[in-house]
Amino acid sequence: MGFEFFTIYWRDMIRFVRFRALLFASLVQPALWMAFFGIAMTGSFDRFTSLAPLPAGAVPVPYLTFMAAGVMALTTLFTTLFGGMGLLFDKLWGLMREILASPAPRWHILFGIALSGITKSYIQVMILMVFGLLIGVRFFVGASLVQVAIAIAGILLFVGIFALGFLFLSSAISLTMESPESMQAVMTLLSLPLFFVSNALYPAESFPPFLQAATALNPLTYLVTGIRYFAIGPDFWALSHHYVYTPADVCFAFLALALFAGVMFALALRTINRAVVS
């Protein structure tokens, strides 16, 4: 096995760092979102939920903390949904020909793009965590240094496997699109249901049954579960809902994301193996 995928990764990271505006925007935008939306909504949500009686033994969590985990998940979703877009530009500008005509196996292209997408997501998620803690998000409460390290590793594991699935999906779509505009349209279409039919910003438990069933099919739900488990804890109370995550729930969430990534890889591989650039 060669390391050609690392070449693809290397080039994508050069571009990421070289475009100062892109770099700046992608780092600041999620933090801004958390700052404005989070702080604005926390006031009202916490007022509503303070009316509901707190069951004995439940740990109440402010909305800002609850949604911070969701913003981390959504940021990962949006970044990775567009993570394969570079392939579309490479295709349109003819750059893909050089790569497809090289002896490098084509799955290396997918892996290189995935690796750089995951790197970008990790950077964003770490920034969000640090920024969140600065503005009052209460993650890792009462945890020791070792426990915090394990929790962060757990979060990154979830972000990584989730990102992998969406980067493969994004790559597959990019390779079939003909213009950036259509890519944009498809991605927006795709992101809306993923965004809203999830438990990222509000509890899915109050959805009507068919929407609840839909959240079970949404990978974002499983990512949020993983992040909340590691960042907030297995048992907490937010937005008048009692959240309990057992280790089995978390394992199931991870396996669901792994399955999603596997299926998306198969789809992307099929697409790139059939790609003809001439």
Binding site: F6, R11, I14, R15, R18, G94, R97, A101, S102, P103
Partner: protein
């Protein structure tokens, strides 16, 4: 004679209902510059795409650098370099990074890669642009960089698809110089072009291709001689009589009246026939006002074989 480095037997390729390549066969010798000359849409790019493994072989047999393209595309890819018709450079990378990316993509070891990058930058004289992003290079420089990239991995064959498309005359000549130099150092060149002068000045052997078929092949000289159309245009004191006495001169194929004077069509080399023509006229006491020899250009060859001028 050594084995051909490219061997194509009965290659066909179609896109839906359109036949792009229609059963062509040819062989390229190691070390030569072999060119496909033809109008846009003649099947040149399709042929190059099949030879470089970018399109699957649909019909026929293709061997490049000793490997069957259909069976061992990986080995073929490792043995060739390609300069594509369109620009295929990442505008955001620097000259060095473009070559570095290519070397890494072909798994070149680090030390060799570094050495080769320096050599290639020197070859195409882009030393001053080493760390400049591609977006700031001129068209000719970009083309030179693409040639350098194609040569990074020391290919046995370099494929050039319309290498000077859209370049200004000076840059074209510059690019031609590099192509000759690279060929001189032992790389076989497979070239496609729709420029007559390009095919004429670079190629050892030219193949005229039209509608997916090779309709003539040979050296530039052979193709022009095959036409037998060297023309001597004459104006004399007495054209009618001059035409009469030249009609039975050896080598004269036909005599046609012109706007002024008349034209003598020579079946062989017109340059060798000219003195005899002039001698005979002087011997008959006919005054010569002007004499002009015109040998066919590759354009004439093209028109002759295809029945029309090159398009585009």
């Amino acid at each position: 004679m050594s084995d051909p480095i490219i061997e194509v037997t009965n290659l066909s390729h179609r896109f839906r209902d359109t036949v792009a390549v229609d059963g062509i066969s040819f062989a390229v010798r190691p070390g030569e510059i072999f060119s496909f000359l033809g109008p846009n849409g003649a099947g040149k790019s399709t042929t190059i795409n099949v030879l470089t493994t970018l399109l699957a072989v649909q019909g026929g047999m293709v061997r490049v650098a000793g490997f069957d393209v259909a069976k061992s595309p990986g080995e073929v890819r490792r043995s060739i370099g390609i300069v594509f018709q369109e620009e295929t450079l990442d505008r955001d990378l620097t000259v060095r990074e473009i070559l570095e990316f290519h070397g890494r993509l072909y798994s070149m070891p680090r030390e060799e890669r570094k050495k080769r990058i320096d050599e290639m930058i020197r070859l195409v004289e882009l030393e001053a642009k080493r760390d400049v992003q591609v977006r700031h290079l001129s068209g000719g420089m970009k083309r030179r960089l693409e040639i350098a990239r194609g040569l990074m991995t020391r290919p046995k064959v370099l494929f050039l698809d319309e290498p000077t498309l859209g370049l200004d005359p000076q840059s074209r000549i510059h690019v031609w110089d590099y192509i000759r130099q690279v060929n001189h150092e032992g790389t076989t060149i497979f070239l496609t072009t729709h420029y007559m002068d390009e095919a004429d000045s670079l190629s050892d052997r030219i193949n005229i291709i039209d509608h997916g078929k090779i309709i003539a092949s040979g050296t530039s000289r052979e193709l022009k001689d095959a036409l037998g159309q060297d023309i001597i245009s004459l104006e004399t004191g007495n054209d009618a009589r001059a035409a009469e006495i030249l009609r039975d001169l050896p080598g004269v194929r036909d005599i046609r009246p012109g706007l002024r004077g008349f034209s003598v069509i020579i079946s062989g080399d017109g340059g060798k026939c000219l003195p005899a023509v002039l001698d005979r006229l002087r011997g008959a006491g006919i005054a010569i006002v002007s004499a002009n020899l015109k040998q066919p250009t590759l354009d004439d060859v093209f028109v002759h074989f295809t029945g029309r001028e090159i398009r585009g």
